[in-house]
């Protein structure tokens, strides 16, 4: 505490009560104003970014744009293959991700002895997986899924190069691992909102642990589990670095049909349009349109997740 404003009273008995100095509090005012200004600046920057994209992208996004294919060296046409590829990618990712993520969270919440070294190792891994840079996931996807798993599958099956190349499935699995911590953390948070007495009531009534999980814990925590899944999808739809070498294609004349096909993806398409276009002025409207579609997709997903989480928190508070 700074001495100037809280001087001890010299003679408590006789002196009049200390009157707070009425000097204008310059330091305090500037500190408060500065912090408010920082907050305002951040909000403004978000508004500028979104405004820029919506303002310039709005007119591009037509039905033809959404449903068409790229034409004339990607200076005309639409982005349907990229939308389709993105959706396929996140669906595959969710299928691979949710059982593991939810299973791990259920185990951590209900089964794990919290002080055992195994539990601590799992928590350490979850915490640190979340911090691995996305480009390293890309390297891992290439080194493990494609060069190791894929090549060995090809060798065992006596195939030419089918699995050992960048593909939709490998990209989806790479993204699934990237999002595993997101799902585990949000699911566990959701499981914690289920009151302990309900769980204990279920066990006391003779239900097994698995019955308790299936009929008490998971149904109650469902909004939270969905939140985790949606956040993962939003992040999966926006991450480009992990799929650069694991399956995303610059341009494909056909839609992916098999998990071993390559695919076009919205985020990667933004990157391609922004950096590899021979004629940036001709590509500009398409670029803004693609960014707008990508942003709209991720924001809708994030918004849903935020609303679900808010409902969950309200329920938690309502219980006290």
């Amino acid at each position: 505490m700074s001495g100037t404003t809280l001087d001890p009273v010299p003679d408590a008995a006789s002196a009049p009560l200390p009157v707070r100095e009425r000097r204008p509090d310059v330091a305090g005012f500037s500190f408060t104003a500065l912090s408010g200004f920082a907050a305002l600046l951040i909000v403004l920057m978000v508004a500028v970014i979104l405004g820029e994209v919506v303002w310039n992208g709005w007119s591009t996004v037509t039905w033809e744009f959404l449903a068409g294919v790229p034409r004339e060296g990607m200076t005309k046409g639409g982005i349907f293959p990229a939308i389709y590829g993105t959706l396929l990618l996140v669906v595959l990712m969710v299928i691979a991700l949710i059982p593991f993520g939810v299973g791990a969270a259920v185990w951590l919440h209900l089964y794990a002895a919290q002080d055992s070294w195994f539990t601590k190792t799992v928590r350490f891994a979850v915490h640190n997986l979340a911090g691995v840079p996305s480009i390293v996931y890309g390297l891992f996807g290439l080194g493990f899924f494609i060069q190791f798993l894929g090549h060995n599958v090809d060798r065992v099956l006596g195939l030419d190069v089918v699995w050992g190349q960048p593909a939709l499935m490998w990209a989806a699995l790479t993204l699934a691992l990237l999002n595993l911590p997101v799902v585990i953390v949000t699911t566990e948070e959701a499981l914690r909102t289920v009151p302990r007495d309900q769980r204990e009531a279920s066990l006391a009534l003779g239900a097994t642990r698995w019955q308790t999980v299936r009929h008490v814990l998971v149904p109650q925590a469902l909004p939270g589990i969905l939140t985790g899944a949606i956040l993962a999808v939003a992040r999966g739809a926006g991450e480009v670095a992990p799929i650069l070498f694991t399956g995303a294609a610059y341009f494909l004349p056909f839609l992916p049909k098999l998990p071993t096909d390559q695919f076009m993806e919205l985020g990667y398409h933004v990157f391609v349009l922004a950096t590899q276009s021979p004629d940036i002025d001709a590509t500009r409207p398409l670029l803004y349109g693609t960014v707008l579609v990508l942003l709209a997709l991720t924001f809708l997903l994030n918004l849903t997740a935020i609303l679900l989480r808010a409902r969950l928190r309200a329920r938690l508070l309502g219980r006290g």
Binding site: V53, F100, G103, F140, G143, E200
Partner: protein, 311 residues
Amino acid sequence: MSTVQPRRHVRAAQIRRERLIEFALRACAFSAVAGLVLIVVFVFKEAWPVLFDPETQKEASLQRFFATPLWQPVGDIPKYGLMPLLTGTFKVVAIAMLFAVPLAVLAAVFSAEFAPARVREVLKPAIEMLAGIPSVVMGFFALMVLASWLQGVTHSEMRLNALTAGIALGLGVIPTIFTVAEDALRAVPRSFREASLGLGATPWQTAWHVSLPAASAGVAAGVLLGLARAVGETMIVLMASGNAAITSADPLDSVRTLSASIAAELAEVVVGSPHYSTLFFLGALLFTITFLINVAAGAFVEQLRKRLAGA
């Protein structure tokens, strides 16, 4: 956690099923550990030749990384000098942190200490939206818009440079720092603040002398997590930095970072070549740096938890 044991009359088959399910769930939890271990094994495995394979070391080895000041991986005599990449990464990350840390921490203090509920209802979703902007979109914004604005101010020769990339990267990490710092500040018990205010301190004195010191470990954790993200972030720097491998201290020079080099070059290299191994080595380096920062951040979070729990 298992306070209730299955009772005796539960049939043996059911017990077997329960055991099987428990095993499956345990395996799911183990998948996180397996994932982390596999990442380490397979990224370091591909980087291995740089350290131990004589054939690769004729072109790329630890000594060679620092023997040449140039990063020219493609050419008759490829040169893998790491200096431009290391200084480039340092420069961009430093600019990003100089930009992001004051803004994010001040905004977190504002949100946790001063903001009326109604203002916070605007601020928090705005931050969540910023967090939801994919990094490729931030890179696009830096490339198309921010670069021109900044060039208008700085009159720099190169449109894409460390400053452009640094500020865009800073925007990308603000949500991380803000969220962790704000959570820590809001976790400071009410009694701390009330005691301070009751003693006659003003709200800002309370924020500066009581709340911030109490939450300092959390704020530090937020800054570290932001730092780790900034070091590893790829798409923003790949799109906004210009990617010229120049060793200089000038923030207006174009730079090439570790992460951007991997992203830009890996698609075109021959698997198993010295260049390929070198790029995996860069990945291993990035992994190690961010891993250490994250462990430190975890320690700070733990410290905060203990401090506030002990209160």
